[in-house]
Symmetry: C2
């Protein structure tokens, strides 16, 4: 079960909170980017970045700027949020319009991964999430690149999931009046046809780990 | 031109920053949800929420919890980020894998909209963004609903846009080696077929503002 500390209890509409670790993992695995929140000079800063999950550890690229915010002697308070928008909910009243979505919010301290093996593992997890199959297909990380990149890890201990996955929740009077359409317009994220690089040599067939991605 | 204060200068890869207000507006108009960052108890909190833009004002639903964080006597420091993921960039090396994206980051103080006309205008802007046409089609906001909802406004004065929209940026040695495929897998957000509510009375035709949405 997910912890439900006051920090991850998101106020109103608590019925939409989910406390199942498998659901948390599924949301994180379905997302492609996260939004990383940090506090800088006392105000919030939210930046999009890639991530990857292994068990109950989330890895983040340090190149987001978060690493530079982290003082050498301490970990960095972060909030990582992954949101999947699933539909626009058209209700019979303007007020009851809504969205179907799945959202994971993780609070904790991001740690700089310094152990070389752990850092290389983090890079593999990040690559497997961004581009499954590329870790095996593409040229591996060399020593110079490895030194230049930083990886942050975040424990999934303090996390919450909220979701809405239903039709419009209209007032009985509005249903009876029957003066407006109601339903859901699904929203999906899809991949298009792969576009080979302009400088790719002739004869390349697009590899299965790209063509078969869903 | 967009301001480029130190706060919205995002560190490395500054060549990806865009300082054109039309581009900012386009990113905000293309997005469906934003990620709202606030500071709570000294740590960041990032929540997904709907928004809408009118000129250089962004409107947010107060129901995100942000309104409750705002002390009655002062405005709330927020960061609002809208990210559109456009593609996965497969490079010849693991290290040069990347993403094509457009991202807007707005910093400022969110103000509670209290004037009744301005608040109703904010609700219309929010509705027009979430579900264009619904403001005219669905039952209007009544007095009770109007009193229960809160609207926040945020000036777009301090904002930045970053984007990447190109093929892989590989090392010359990797291009020459020609041992891996390189290209872009486009990512798109699309609408599916509208799903009428289970309790919709027979005979309804799905209205054009839903079927024609792109």
């Amino acid at each position: 079960m997910l912890s439900t500390t006051p920090r991850t209890t998101l106020g109103r509409k608590k019925h939409r909170a989910v406390t199942d670790r498998a659901v948390l993992h599924a949301v994180l695995d379905d997302g492609l980017i996260c939004h990383l929140g940090v506090v800088r000079d006392g105000v919030p800063l939210v930046l999009p970045t890639g991530y990857g999950r292994d068990g109950d550890t989330l890895y983040l690229h340090g190149s987001t700027g978060a690493a530079s915010l982290r003082k050498a002697s301490e970990d960095l308070d972060v909030c990582v949020t992954v949101t999947l928008l699933d539909g626009i909910v058209y209700a019979r009243s303007v007020n009851n319009h809504s969205m179907n979505y799945r959202s994971a919010v993780i609070l904790g301290k991001a740690k700089l991964v310094t152990d070389a093996d752990a850092k290389m593992h983090g890079l593999k997890v990040l690559t497997d999430h961004l581009a499954p199959g590329s870790w095996e297909h593409a040229r591996e990380v060399n020593a110079k690149e490895f030194a230049a990149v930083s990886v942050l890890s975040l424990d999934l201990a303090e996390a919450s999931v909220k979701m809405r996955a239903e039709g419009p929740d209209d007032e009985a009077d509005d249903v009876g009046a029957d003066t407006a359409w109601a339903g859901v317009l699904p929203v999906r994220t899809v991949f298009g046809a792969p576009e080979p690089s302009a400088d790719l040599s002739p004869g390349w067939v697009i590899p299965p780990h790209v063509t078969d991605r869903e």
